[in-house]
Amino acid sequence: MDFGPYLMLAIMEGALTAAVLALTASGLALVFGVMRVVNVAHGEFFMLGAVLAWWVSQLAGGSPVWGFLLALCVVPLLVGVLAAAVDMTILKRINYDPERTIVATIGILYILQQVTLMTYGPEARPVAPPFNTRVALPWFEMSNGALQLYWPWGLSITSYKLFVIGAACVVLLGLWALMTQTKLGLLMRATEQDREMAHAFGIPVQRVYAIAFGLGAGMAALAAVLIVPIQQAHYLMGGDPLLLSFIVVIIGGLGSLPGAILAALLIGLSDGIISVFFSPTLAKIFATLLVAFVLVFRPNGLWGTRNS
């Protein structure tokens, strides 16, 4: 394959990684932004989303489309409610103290992981994609002084991967609309700015925190439901999304939603391109080096503000 089509293929794979990463990392950024809580258990909510998606698709039986659709609607909601309950029963009791919330979320990480191991088991299990046709992608070449489209052999992507990229864009637009156009978004942004003043203006801060924590975990679960037909559900699958989400949130600027999305694009695309042309390990080295440079030269992140 020529360089051009090869690059196109790498970009499409990178876009898929970026889409899933943007969903997961925006959940983490939302929780940190509103609550100033570093949620170390975020990856386990992702894992729980994937495992529950497998469970729901098995329960639904029949056509994979119905199982997938049911999982897409139910699983983020279930994980969100569980996370809100965790917030109200654990984080609220330790008054959202920064150090103690880190320790508490590490504990939640192990509880979720081990309960999943005991109930779901150590196997990696696949979820059938609802549709999976191969879509050939066109490329162009100069012929007789004019641009001509052609269909290079091997330059293709599955329809499901395109759906994941599209769905992530829709969900992120929805999150943007929620934060900027609704009363709930306004209350969350006000709480993010000044918790004490939010109290003084009648905002039920504890409820806003529970909603933000649930929404953040729900975003991670949604990302997992979307990716589980491509990767298999496994009780240890939360580690990578957690690490990459932290990388993205640090590069984007702690607590900045637009920053998280732009950084997810940067990390996802570079991951795709470097993995295809060189090796996946080199892609991880690049991401880690980028974090180190950002921490040294722009500690507030590429798109963060001073108070973040």
Binding site: R189, A190, Q193, D194, H199, A200, F201, I203, V205
Partner: protein, 232 residues
């Protein structure tokens, strides 16, 4: 309307207020004076429920504010303009005003009234709060509290560091709230403002109540006593 009964409060183990009692009446401005560290801002926070009381209670129209969680205090008609303004800086002027209006569903009528009192805010509705000038920020802080249509309005040094024209606008807004029937509690350090606005003066010293003055006393023999309690 607003009543403090032997209120003691502080930060952690450090007690600041020691058994302070006073009452603010509707349609009057009560000026709270005292030197730095006397406990004026602590009193405001204690009324809002932002600090737990060590003893005593705070009542508004007979309801015990100090028994409520802090976010329920504004619903009983208590508006707060804190020292240093503490706006939601990354939110626009319109969004800052909306926080007060939306929370209690007071809607456009309250907003229109605020924009009538502070017409300059109308020109800045789409601007971020942290890009406003100091005076405009103070107008917004007052407007945000006025959106609650408060029965009790707490103003913590609202004219600190402002140019004279802005000071006049803020004082005029405080007077407007008094005329609307609100009980205004004003922390103020300037003698001219106190003598121009106060219906009652409460003096604090090291967290203790050192005395109260009525308007008539203020204009006559006890002015020297008041000057002794003003901040440095």
């Amino acid at each position: 309307m607003l009543k403090l009964e032997t209120v003691s409060a502080g930060y952690g183990a450090a007690q600041v207020l020691r058994g302070v009692s006073f009452e603010a009446h509707p349609g009057q401005i009560l000026c709270l004076v005292g030197r730095n560290g006397a406990g004026k801002s602590t009193t405001m926070k204690a009324i809002m429920g932002l600090l737990p009381l060590m003893e005593g209670r705070v009542l508004c129209d007979g309801a015990v504010l100090s028994d409520l969680p802090p976010h329920k205090v504004p619903a009983l008609g208590v508006g707060y303009v804190p020292q240093g303004r503490r706006l939601f800086g990354a939110l626009t002027v319109a969004e800052n005003l909306a926080v007060g209006c939306l929370t209690f569903g007071k809607g456009n009528a309250a907003l229109d009234e605020v924009l009538e009192v502070f017409p300059r805010l109308k020109e800045r509705l789409a601007q971020r709060a942290n890009t406003l000038s100091g005076g405009e920020q103070q107008m917004l802080a007052m407007g945000r509290a006025m959106c609650l249509r408060p029965k009790v309005l707490l103003l913590d040094e609202p004219t600190e560091g402002l140019q004279p024209s802005m000071v006049a606008a803020i004082r005029s807004a405080a007077d407007h709230m008094r005329q609307q029937g609100a009980a205004v509690v004003l922390v103020e350090q300037r003698l001219d403002a106190i003598t121009a606005l106060a219906d009652q003066v409460v003096m604090l010293e090291n967290g203790h109540l050192r005395g109260t003055l009525t308007r008539s006393q203020l204009m006559t023999e006890d002015r020297g006593l008041l000057e002794a309690h003003l901040g440095v």
